[in-house]
């Protein structure tokens, strides 16, 4: 087949092309995010309202160890916001599927991992923005982390990694749902028990025994506790909890990422 005139190619190998493809798709997703500022604004408004709601409406009714509810609350809000943010991974993919853009991508010689890699990488960037925003809002309403700057950043990385693991699960939802609305509807029943039956907003000791058994051992509680341990220390210090959280996140990535990529490949 020497007479086939292939187009010229950028020098590189399978690995560098994969990285470059992921970068191209990430950039495209971030441009989309920037060009729809209204979506960014309203999706930021919701966690801010949660902060205000719990800080000023529920705080007085929820006794917590250590006394400062806003300190207790903020790590929970961070994790909750990122969990719900993972819905946008599902929605983004469902939309690309619906418009036919993924069909065009599938006919290109690009890496089969790039669509999902680019989606999740862009969503990690969005989460970094969310952490910055909520940190500012938290400080404005009296959040005073006592664990030190290094531990605060470590907690941020830990939470970002957890959200990253979760995204791969939502990528599968996005590729399975017929449209963006269905993707969103499929996500809520998963996220509600995980975020609310957890230590994010109230100490789990206040829950009935059977619920505690679930709440104490599920990954959101573990990651919230790990973030608290790092951000606040003192009362909330839990040796070993960080490793538990990392193990969950790593488990999510190792199990869900290959499943999602396989799902993308098999969609043909």
């Amino acid at each position: 087949m020497t007479d086939i005139a292939f187009p010229p190619t950028q020098s590189g190998n399978a690995l560098t092309w994969t990285i470059s493809d992921i970068a191209v798709v990430t950039k495209r997703n971030l441009i989309r995010l920037m060009r729809t500022p209204e979506a960014l604004f309203f999706s930021s408004l919701q966690p801010i309202m949660f902060v205000l709601l719990f800080r000023y409406v529920f705080a007085g009714a929820i006794p917590v160890p250590g006394g400062s509810y806003v300190n207790y609350l903020m790590p929970g809000i961070f994790v909750q916001t990122m969990c719900f943010g993972a819905i946008s991974t599902a929605i983004g993919l469902a939309e690309d599927l619906q418009t036919g853009l993924l069909e065009r991508f599938r006919a290109l010689p690009m890496s089969r991992a790039a669509v999902l890699g680019g989606r999740t990488t862009a969503d990690v960037c969005r989460n970094i923005f969310v952490i910055g925003l909520l940190t500012a809002v938290g400080f404005a309403v009296g959040f005073r982390p006592t664990g030190g700057v290094a531990n605060y950043l470590l907690a941020a990385l830990l939470m970002l990694f957890f959200a990253y693991g979760l995204m791969w699960g939502f990528a599968i939802i996005g590729l399975t749902a017929a449209n963006a609305e269905t993707a969103q509807l499929m996500s809520f029943p998963l996220l509600f028990p995980l975020t609310f039956a957890s230590s994010a907003f109230v100490p789990t000791q206040s829950m009935p025994g059977w619920l505690q058994a679930f709440a104490n051992n599920q990954p959101v509680t573990i990651t919230v506790n790990a973030a608290r341990s790092l951000m606040l220390g003192g009362h909330y210090a839990m040796p070993g909890i960080i490793w538990k959280s990392l193990a969950w996140s790593l488990g999510f990535v190792v199990v869900l990422a290959p499943l999602a990529i396989q799902r993308y490949r098999k969609m043909a």
Binding site: P7, Q10, L97, T99, R104, A107, P109, A268
Partner: protein, 336 residues
């Protein structure tokens, strides 16, 4: 040896666990430099055929090659030599024209400098230079379709697949796009085009393949297909649909093919026009059916299509909007 650009042999694909046969033994041969029109009603299997040939859908059975490369085994290589422009402009409306073309160029792994240069060239060629740095949200339907086609051409692919390139476009934009496609063909590009518009196939394609129910039901040049139809179409116009029906009963035996109604008119395909026309007038006069008009004309591809599939080709706007809203993965799979 690789004079054959696209070849499909016995392609089969079913959806919904075998309930929907989208392709049912589909065969196709496209020689290099040829423009072949794949024609068929909604749901005939046109899009499924294009998806199988462009590696985005794995056939259940059969084989297909692009310039001798197998679409399943050599999919990665095939993707480097094909361009695909979709039924719906699959460009990203949040990006600018330039950003869209550069993204596709980069994902084709073309050299960076080459991508920049090619992007400029294409925008110029498609009359989009001024709109290049604007968001697609400001583009008209025709402009989007041109950009979609430009995106398929970034890598200058020798084989181009156009899946209903002008569906939903206004006549002027359609004409503009036809001229662009004709230019590409003059430059030596091989084109496989699916369409529901016979006028489009008649103008652009040298060879026409008619498919229905996932199978090829006719194949030939537009002239050959028309010749197969019989020499002349005889159209009679009466005063009312009822009269048209009566008239058709009186003249049905003049042609082996069944007459076709359209409002007050009846059309009949006959071998010899003038003598049959005289006979028709005699019979209708005897039957006291007033004849408002009578015309004899060469058959159009529409007549061919109707005769072959039993379905007229007109796409009502409702059908177009329906399929564009049912654009989910499932919708896309099953709509044809």
């Amino acid at each position: 040896m690789t004079d054959i650009a696209v070849e499909a042999r016995g392609l089969k694909k079913t959806f919904r666990k075998g309930q929907v046969k989208a392709l049912d033994g589909f065969d196709l041969t496209v020689r290099r430099g040829q423009v072949v029109g794949l024609l068929g009603p909604n749901g005939a299997g046109k899009t499924t055929a294009v998806r199988a040939l462009t590696t985005t859908l794995r056939p259940d059975a059969g084989t297909a090659t692009i310039l001798g490369l197998d679409v399943v085994k050599d999919a990665a290589k095939v993707r480097r030599i094909i361009g695909l422009a979709g039924q719906f402009a699959t460009v990203d409306e949040n990006l600018t024209g330039i950003e869209n073309l550069e993204m596709i160029g980069r994902l084709n792994h073309l050299p960076h400098g080459f991508v920049k240069q090619r992007t400029e060239e294409l925008l110029e060629q498609f009359g989009l230079s001024d709109a290049g740095s604007r968001s697609l949200k400001t583009y008209s339907g025709g402009m989007r379709r041109r950009l979609d086609l430009a995106a398929a051409l970034v890598s200058s692919p020798p084989i181009l697949f156009l899946d209903e390139p002008t569906t939903g476009l206004d006549p002027q934009s359609r004409l503009g796009l036809w001229e662009v496609i004709e230019g590409l063909v003059r430059g030596g590009t091989t084109v496989l085009l699916t369409t529901q518009y016979l006028e489009e196939a008649d103008r652009l394609a040298e060879d026409i393949v008619v498919i229905d129910h996932g199978k090829v039901i006719a194949h030939g040049t537009p002239a050959e297909l028309k010749a197969d139809m019989g020499a002349t179409v005889l159209a009679i116009t009466t005063d009312s649909p009822e009269q048209a029906r009566e008239a058709s009963q009186l003249i049905a035996d003049l042609s082996p093919k069944a007459p076709h109604f359209d409002g007050n008119s009846v059309e009949l395909t006959v071998e010899e026009g003038p003598p049959k026309a005289a006979e028709v007038l005699r019979r209708l006069d005897a039957g006291s059916i007033p004849v408002v008009g009578l015309t004899l004309r060469e058959p159009s591809l529409d007549d061919v299509f109707l005769a072959l599939t039993g379905k007229p080709t007109e796409v009502d706007t409702e059908a177009v909007t329906q399929s564009s809203t049912a654009r989910g993965r499932r919708g896309a799979k099953e709509s044809s």
